[in-house]
Subunit: 385 residues, 2 copies
DNA sequence: ATGAAAGCGCTAACAT
DNA sequence: ATGTTAGCGCTTTCAT
């Protein structure tokens, strides 16, 4: 027996067959007598043979590895997204290779283009495209290789894309706040945009804002700059929480003034005080956690003083205090869609005549995943428990 | 120009040198004239040459890929651990390959042994060993390849190991509760063990329990089964929270009874009622979040009614409500230690005469990372903010 | 159903 | 400082 690790030739020799037959037997390819296959498998088992993927990949050009690119690992949203993608990839017998960009377009570009694996090792790539569109020339980087974008939100997709139910989900969230009796609803996200500018947005945050503002206007509630706050993660969410708290306290004070004024009608004042904010839609759960935290810094309680709902369905929302109402998106479905799209293209390429250099091939497809509105303490209180 | 992707030969030809020179130039190896190197690099750039790692690995037997194995992605602790390990690996010019086992020893075994990459592709492996010792015969699986265990807690390490400051950190956490004025402190973890059995524990949870119970006994406070609850994640943590809440309410009721009894001294009763729990040490932050949540279900507030401290330093602890006091472990240091251990072995192997088959080589080393006690609202209230 | 030949793209080892 | 040779372990192709 040779010194190092057993190779396919060792197995073949010990089984009394050629390397080719051994290879076919091990891969379950047809055209191998059952008895032969059994013998090969037994020998491989005995020798503890392990295929050398490196050689296999070199020759065959296929790796069964799927490249998964996300912004970061340590956030409530991404850790769950990765979990879903990795699980689905593994269940299909493929190997997930996960990479993070830390929100840097350069890192994303590197992951896609300069990474020595890209284009040679990976059978397909899945990238969470949020905030990527600007900085990364995908078409120039991707030479017809299977690529799926997550939440790219393009109206005319240039790549296979799985989108979140951004507009509908946000609309449902705000409608839920309205049903809870909220009259003055704040939006925490990327900042205010007038409705006209939202008509053709192609970003996740823009679409969520469109859905949220649409729900407000449909209900005859105001949508303006004064109720828009910036928050997209825990830190900025805390700041948004502080800003909202101050606005609420000011409104309370003003309302107290008004009451006082009504008794002594000598003062000149704008008529009708602004009512205090009583509901908050956050563009994602991560920001919502921060907002609740920020409100608490001012002694404002959720949902007693103001109701809060997030978006995404982060795992943590079920065990925070209060538990977080949210629009739970179906990430398992997302993973299924994404891998369907990848495998479809891989198979096409395998069957293709090999001539189509940039294999324009099939047009880009698009899918949108489902969602569930999950009411929890942060909107309906503990009565619901 | 050839049809497919440019190979090293294409670059060499275009630069008017041999493939070997081109290879050396691209790898920054010494012994290449500067002008030659410049020319090669320019040509490679122009052709958009990308090294074929698969071929390179096949020939050289090195991949620069580090295998990182953790239990899961979507938990406050692991997402941060992965973040640190991946960042450090990347900064050293190595490529992290992250895999999750979902707490299955079989999956861990598979990742380490059956995974087609293992032992051929990876230059080194880092595995979070918690709850692994029993099910996985590491020595049989690992054939002298660089392997680092995280928190294996073995007294006599068989592999390079980086441990958490389990005992000291837990001790510090409980001391903090005591300094806050707690007299009756519950422990939420893997369950009660008598002190004698804790003398030689070799598990993370056992060591934390040893530290916690030691701090109690040192302060003359009781350590017994009645104040030990089972909780190690959010769900079990919630259950522990419920159990503790019920114990607290019962103690309150009993104390009310006692007061009543003292007025009507006719009843026979055990003397001295049990005081209510006023402090809780949780074996990790994940459980602590659940405990706080479970307490809230009973209307028990933290820290007003009971103080809570966790362990790990999960990112979320800084933006939950209340913010979570914790023993923050230095995961960046952990990543540095782990990669130092790996590279040390890789280098040794590279320099080795290649004869040492199972390269027993260097003895296993062990390191323990540092920690910081972070007091937050859950123990000291918002005065601290 | 099985085998033989050839070579994927690169780099270690040895020339020059 | 550069070039030549050989072959890593596998699988595609073509024979038998």
């Amino acid at each position: 027996m040779p010194s190092g690790k057993p190779t396919l030739r060792d197995v073949a020799k010990a089984a009394g067959v050629s390397p080719m037959t051994a290879s076919n037997a091990l891969h379950g390819k047809p055209g191998v007598k059952d008895s032969t296959r059994a013998k090969v498998l037994a020998v491989a088992e005995k020798l503890d043979y392990r295929i050398n993927l490196t050689a296999s990949m070199l020759k065959s050009g296929r790796s069964n590895i799927i490249h998964i690119i996300v912004n970061e690992f340590d956030s409530p949203f991404y850790s769950k997204l990765v979990e879903s993608l990795v699980t689905e990839t593994t269940e299909r017998g493929l190997t997930p290779f996960v990479e993070q960009t830390r929100y840097s377009p350069d890192a994303a570009k590197h992951a896609l283009a300069n990474n020595p694996f890209s284009g040679q090792l990976f059978d397909g790539e899945i990238i969470h495209a949020s905030g990527l569109n600007a900085g990364v020339p995908l078409s120039a980087i991707n030479h017809g290789r299977p690529l799926v974008l997550i939440d790219a939100c393009e109206e005319t997709p240039t790549f296979d894309t799985v989108n979140f139910p951004n507009e509908d989900g946000a609309r449902a969230a705000v409608q839920h706040l309205i049903e809870c009796g909220c009259h003055r609803i704040a939006i925490v996200g990327d900042g205010y945009s007038p409705r006209t500018e939202l008509a053709h947005v192609e970003s996740s945050s823009g679409l969520r804002l469109r859905g949220a503002s649409g729900a407000l206007l449909d209900a005859g509630l105001p949508y303006d700059e004064s109720t828009n706050f910036i928050g997209y993660g825990s830190d900025s969410g805390i700041e948004a929480g502080h800003a909202i708290a101050e606005a609420m306290l000011e409104a309370r004070a003003q309302s107290a003034d008004d009451t006082a004024e009504s008794r002594s009608p000598g003062t000149t004042r704008a008529t009708g005080s602004t009512p205090a904010i009583d509901g908050i839609f956050c563009i994602n759960d991560y920001a919502a956690f921060g907002v609740i935290r920020g409100l608490a810094d001012y002694g404002i309680r959720v949902p007693d003083d103001v109701r809060v709902i997030g978006f995404d369905g982060a795992t943590a929302g079920s065990y925070t205090t209060p538990t977080l109402s949210t629009v739970q998106v179906d990430l398992d479905q997302l993973a299924q869609f994404a891998l369907d799209m990848i495998t479809r293209r891989v198979e096409q390429r395998d069957q293709g005549d090999g001539r189509s250099d940039e294999s324009a091939g099939m047009p880009a497809t698009r899918a949108t995943i489902g969602y569930t509105l999950v009411p929890r303490e942060s909107t309906v209180g503990s009565a619901n428990r």
